[in-house]
C-alpha cells in the first residue's frame, strides 16, 4: 500500500511521460497527429477490400465500421502490449541512475496508447453517422468498457515489462503470441460465426474478444450490454491487474541490479 501511495504521488511524472510519448510519436513526420486518424482508416480500407471484395461471402452488415471498431480496439491492445514489454528494459539507464516508482513506465505506455485510441475515436463518430447509424443511450457504457480494457492492458503490461527484465526472450515470444492472439480475437469476424460451439469459452479466455464485442454492441447495434457479461469481463480484467501488479511490485526492487 505504501508502494501504491508513492506511485500516486508520482502522477505528474506519469502525465509528463504520456505527453512526451504523444509528442514524440509524430514529431518528425509530415502529417503528424493526422496519422492517428489516417492509419486506422487505411487499415479499415484494407480489411474491407480483403473481406468484401476478395472474399465475397461476408454477410456482416456495415462491414467497414464493424472492422474499424475492431481495428481501433485491437491496435490499442497490441501496441500497448508490444511497447510495454520493453518499457522497463528500454529505460535501463534511467532505472540505474534515478529513483522513481518503476510502475510509471509500463503505465505510461498503456495510457499513451489509450490516448491515441481516444483520438482515433474522433473519426469513428462521423463515420457512424455517414453509415446511418444513430448513437443510442447505451453510449454511456462506453467509458466503462474503455476503463475495463485499460485495466486489463495495465495488468498485462506489468507482467510483461517485469518478466522481460529477467528473460529477454520475452519480446520474441510475445511477438508471435500477439499474432496468434490477433487471429483469435474477433477483429474482422464475429465470435458467434467462427466459434459457434465455443462462444462462451472464447469470451471467457479472451477479454479482448469481450471488449471488442462490447464496443460493437454499443456503437453499432445501439444495444445495452448484459450485466453478467460486462461484470464478468471487468472482474477478469481486475484480476489480471491485481496479479500483474503484485508480480511487478515483488520484482521491482531487483530492476536496479538486473539491468
Amino acid at each position: 500500500m505504501n508502494r501504491l501511495g508513492e506511485f500516486i504521488r508520482y502522477r505528474e511524472l506519469l502525465s509528463t511521460l504520456v505527453v512526451r510519448d504523444l509528442k514524440l510519436r509524430y514529431r518528425n513526420s509530415l502529417l503528424g497527429f493526422v496519422w492517428s486518424l489516417l492509419n486506422p482508416l487505411l487499415m479499415m480500407l484494407v480489411f474491407t477490400t480483403v473481406f468484401t471484395v476478395m472474399m465475397r461471402n461476408n454477410g456482416t452488415p456495415n462491414f467497414p465500421i464493424f472492422a474499424l471498431i475492431g481495428i481501433l480496439a485491437w491496435n490499442w491492445c497490441s501496441s500497448s502490449v508490444m511497447a510495454s514489454v520493453n518499457s522497463v528494459v528500454g529505460n535501463a539507464p534511467l532505472i540505474k541512475k534515478v529513483y522513481f516508482p518503476r510502475e510509471v513506465l509500463p503505465t505510461s505506455t498503456v495510457l499513451s496508447n489509450m490516448a491515441n485510441f481516444l483520438l482515433a475515436l474522433i473519426v469513428l463518430f462521423p463515420l457512424l453517422l455517414a453509415f446511418g447509424i444513430r448513437p443510442s443511450a447505451a453510449l454511456v457504457l462506453i467509458p466503462v468498457v474503455i476503463a475495463g480494457q485499460a485495466i486489463f492492458l495495465l495488468g498485462l503490461a506489468f507482467v510483461l515489462s517485469a518478466v522481460n527484465v529477467f528473460f529477454r526472450d520475452t519480446l520474441m515470444i510475445v511477438d508471435v503470441l500477439v499474432l496468434a492472439w490477433f487471429f483469435l480475437t474477433p477483429v474482422f469476424y464475429r465470435i458467434e460465426d467462427l466459434f459457434p460451439n465455443y462462444t462462451r469459452l472464447m469470451y471467457w479466455l479472451n477479454p479482448m474478444a469481450s471488449y471488442i464485442t462490447s464496443y460493437r454492441q454499443i456503437l453499432l447495434n445501439g444495444e445495452w450490454l448484459g450485466y453478467d457479461f460486462l461484470l464478468r469481463t471487468l472482474a477478469i480484467s481486475v484480476m489480471v491487474l491485481v496479479g500483474g501488479y503484485a508480480f511487478f511490485a515483488r520484482s521491482a526492487h531487483l530492476f536496479g541490479e538486473e539491468l
Binding site: R27, P93, L94
Partner: protein, 271 residues
Amino acid sequence: MNAVMKAESLSKRFTIYHGKPRSFQELWVNMFRSSAREDFWALHDVNLEVHLGETLGIVGANGSGKSTLLKLLARIIEPTTGKLTVTGRVSALLELGAGFHPDLTGKENIYLNGALLGIPRKVLDRKFDEIVDFAELERFIYTPLKHYSAGMIMRLGFTISLSLDPDILLIDEILAVGDASFQRKCMDRIRQLTRHVGATILVSHDLSLVRNLCTRAIWLQNGTMAADGPASQVVSIYLESEARRYQTPPNGDTQEMPGPVQETPASPGPG
C-alpha cells in the same frame, strides 16, 4: 546533532554469474551445469551517520564501493543486510539530464527531467526562468536538445537538479561541468544548498574538491570503511596510502599499514 541518514552495518552482495541466463536457452543449458556463480561483497559492514548541515565526501579507489553506497542511499538498489534509515527527501545526481530526449526542446526536457527527479510541476513553473538563467540558455530554450553542445546539455541537467530543494543531495562525480565560471557558480550553489537544508554526500576523485567543499570525509577501501573524519585529514591519509601503494614493490613484504587498511592487489587502473 540530528542524523538525517544512518547506516547500520550496511552490506551489499552482488552475485556474479559467469554466464548469467539472460534467455531461456541459457537457463536451460545452465540447469545441467554446476552453478557458475560467485559472491562479491561490494560493501561490507559499513556504519555511517550523516548529520544535518554536513557535506560528506566519499573517497577511495575504483571499485571500492563508493558508487554502490550512493546507489543504496538513492534507493536504486537494496542492501543485502543491514539497515538504512533516511529522514527527508533524497535527490540523487548520479547522472545529469536523466531522461533527456534529443527531439524535445530544452523547455520540454526541463519538465521531463524535473518530473523524473520528483520536482512538482508548480515548482518547475516557478523556477523555470531561474533555471534557464542559471544554465545560460535563454537563446536556445525552444531548440531541440539535439542541437545543443555537450556542455549546454550538462549545464541544463545540472541546473535542473540544483533547483530541487532536497533534504539530502547525493552527487556522483559529475561536477566537471562547463567552464570555470560555471563550475564556481555550481559550487556556490551547492554550498548554499547545504547551508540551508539537509546534507550533501559527494563522491569524487577530485581530492582538492573534496577538501574544499566537504566538512567531513570517509575513505572506502574494498567495501569497508578505512577512515572517517575531517575532510582534509581523511584525504591526506588516503593520499599517503595511495603513494605508498605505488612505492612498494609488487612483492613488497613491508606491511606497515595500520588498522583495517590492507594492501590492495589491484594495479592502478586507467582513469
